[in-house]
């Protein structure tokens, strides 16, 4: 889960989500000028993209996408 969907009808290609993602998960598609999720397994569900998206086009679900080694 984490970031799994960007609503392309709302995305204006402003690049904010690409800039704020600490994990380099999101990239801009050169042809369509819309954001897309390139490295989805690296999403850490931090929600920065969701809260900073000016068009409210992103939803993050805080369930770990990747295999996580926990303390127990």
């Amino acid at each position: 889960m984490g970031i799994r969907k960007i609503d392309l009808s709302l995305c204006i290609g402003c690049n904010v989500c690409v800039d704020v993602c600490p994990m380099d998960v999101i990239r801009m598609d050169a042809a369509s000028k819309k954001a897309y999720i390139k490295y989805l397994r690296d999403c850490q569900s931090c929600c920065l993209c969701e809260v900073e998206c000016p068009e409210d086009a992103i939803r993050v679900t805080a369930l770990p996408e990747r295999i996580i080694v926990a303390a127990w």
């Binding site: 850490q44 295999i67 303390a71």
Partner: protein
């Protein structure tokens, strides 16, 4: 691919600051205020949207003028098991109120009372804390740094430090979008790249990968062991990706319950309970789990509208994360949340003096890049150390002329930086990372220690080092960054385990085969540096006679084990811990 990448040289930098969190940003601002002409701040993400700082849980531990400074030094020193650099801790506490005022001047919004005084609430620990509004803090500092003339370069992943005759003279790395190679030549360099949780369960911190430890170690800087921390681990929601907020949730009155529904912290720590320090919380979590009383839950279902409103304001990201998985609904906690320790946070930091200069000329360090003994965990100490490092670095830059690196260094580093791209058939960095996480994150390796178990983990880490790292391959620039992160994490794990094996006592972190705190032989720091291709380890005595806070010089069963014994969990037999559940 690497042959096509252009090389950009950025010369004539007075102060190069590596990192994008609060320590780095304060270092950059203060270097500028101190008169450094050209200050360049570089981050592998985006300054202000990276590392720990922008996800910090809304609280700052500041020593107010009306607080008892001596008592605060004593408490932080105790939290470090008397391994603290008490002079630096005192400097930090004395600076912290000024730094808070400066944050306000820079545009940071803090929670204030109607009369204009700071609103202070209970957090973990004995002194009330100051609150701020989540990501606004780093947004304000980043913007202020820009307006002060700091040049910021984002998405530039620095891989190595440059040196000239043993003095640091800049850094190199690659840009994650263009793939271009950057050579930054600087008169003084500040490393503020944070600590690490090994990319474990700690949303908002998975870009902290011990890069500064790796860069500093490889040029022969002196690091301090890595076996200790005032916060040996954090505790986080276990099965959902929800970021830090414990200080607030516990401050508002949330409970921890074990698998039997018992509020166990009341037994272990009757006074502070869930607001105890992280060494206590970490240790008592481990004991509960080891005794078969997992899982551990946080219960905040009793929070009323006022508490929830504060949390929404000050912790918007974690609250949003809880909502996304249905833990919070209709403005209330609906479920208990399973909690778990994060990966260990003990760190082999760069040894610094009171000006935050390392033992390598022209290299400075700040924040969690420094050893825990010098810089305690948290925003305030990161900020005060960053400020001092920035001032020192600006002064250091004044007396230097043109800077160059040793002949051939740039070519060698360029090849090393891009090498994983040339072998995309090699092991994937994610696979290697998983192996590394399995070696160091399980709680019975570095949080509940035993010599034999740590030796086994060290062997796994050494296998990664010797076999996988030389072959690790990257498909593209994103994976290239991961390759470098995994390399630095592997070194951090190795140094941490080596130091933890060497510390044959229990001091703040449980060790089953050495349950005693040894204040006769172990008031020492464990040091390491690279000499040629060898790792040199030694200890340095803590100048405890010169410090105001001193423990009794005796060997006694460690406080954490004493509590566990008094609660009927363990006994001591033949000098080691025996678990009651296994008798």
């Amino acid at each position: 691919m690497n042959l096509e990448n252009q090389t950009h040289t950025v010369g004539d930098i007075d102060v190069l600051v590596i990192g994008g969190g609060i320590a780095a940003t304060f270092a950059a601002i203060k270097a500028k205020e101190e008169g450094a002409k050209r200050v360049v701040q570089v981050d592998k993400g985006t300054v202000g949207k990276t590392g720990n700082s922008c996800f910090a849980a809304g609280v700052i531990h500041v020593s107010f003028p009306e607080d008892d400074l001596d008592d605060r030094v004593l408490r932080l020193t105790r939290a470090q098991g008397y391994l603290a650099r008490q002079d630096l801790i005192r400097d930090h506490l004395q600076d912290s109120y000024t730094i808070l005022e400066e944050m306000r001047r820079y545009g940071v919004r803090l929670v204030m009372n109607a009369d204009g005084s700071y609103w202070r609430m209970a957090g973990r620990g004995a002194y009330p804390i100051v609150s701020f509004f989540s990501t606004q803090l780093m947004d304000a500092l980043r913007t202020y740094a820009q307006s002060a003339g700091v040049e910021q370069i984002n998405r530039l992943c620095l891989t190595e430090l440059l040196t000239r005759n043993g003095e640091v003279s800049g850094a190199v790395g690659f840009h994650q979008r263009s793939g271009d190679f950057y050579v930054l030549r600087s008169r003084a360099t500040v490393l503020a790249t944070g600590g690490t949780y090994y990319k474990g369960i700690h949303p908002g911190h998975r870009d902290c990968s011990g890069d500064g430890f790796g860069m500093a170690y490889r040029i022969g800087a002196t690091l301090s062991g890595g076996e200790q921390n005032d916060q040996p681990a954090n505790a986080m929601p276990a099965r959902v990706d929800v970021g830090p907020g414990m200080n607030k949730w516990m401050g508002e009155g949330a409970y921890f319950l074990n698998g039997k529904g018992e509020r166990f912290m009341v037994r272990y720590s009757p006074k502070l309970k869930e607001r105890s320090g992280l060494p206590q919380i970490t240790a008592f979590f481990c004991i509960e789990v080891r005794q078969g009383r997992a899982p551990i839950y946080m219960d905040a279902r009793h929070f009323g509208p006022e508490q929830m409103e504060r949390l929404y304001k000050q912790l918007p990201l974690p609250m949003r994360e809880f909502e996304s998985v249905g833990v919070i609904k209709d403005g209330k906690f609906q479920k208990q949340v399973e909690f778990c320790s994060t990966g260990p946070t003990t760190r082999p930091g760069i040894v610094v003096d009171r000006g935050y200069a390392s033992r390598t000329p022209r290299l400075f360090a700040a924040g969690e890049c420094c050893p825990p003994s010098a810089v305690v965990t948290g925003l305030a100490a990161a900020a005060t150390s960053g400020a001092r490092a920035g001032v020192s670095a600006a002064r250091c830059a004044r007396d230097a002329g043109d800077v160059r690196e040793d002949e051939g260094q740039v070519a060698e580093y360029r090849e090393r930086t891009f090498a994983p791209l040339a072998r995309s058939e090699g092991p994937e960095p994610e696979q290697v990372l998983l192996e590394l996480q399995e070696a160091v994150i399980p709680y019975d390796v570095l949080l509940l220690r035993d010599g034999a178990r740590m030796e086994r983990s060290l062997k796994r880490v050494e296998t990664i080092r010797d076999q996988d790292l030389s072959r690790i391959g990257a498909y593209d620039l994103h994976y290239l960054r991961l390759c470098h992160e995994v390399k630095n994490l592997t070194l951090t794990a190795e140094l941490t385990l080596q130091a933890a094996i060497r510390r044959t006592e229990t001091r703040n972190i449980l060790r089953e085969d050495y349950p005693f705190t040894d204040n006769v032989n172990w008031l020492k720091w464990i040091m390491v540096r690279k000499e040629g291709s060898q790792q040199r380890w030694w200890t340095e005595d803590i100048p405890i006679e010169k410090y105001p806070c001193q423990p009794k010089r005796e060997v006694e069963l460690a406080y954490l084990w004493r509590v566990a014994r008094d609660q009927g969990n363990v006994s001591v037999k033949d000098g080691r811990i025996q678990w009651e559940s296994e008798k």
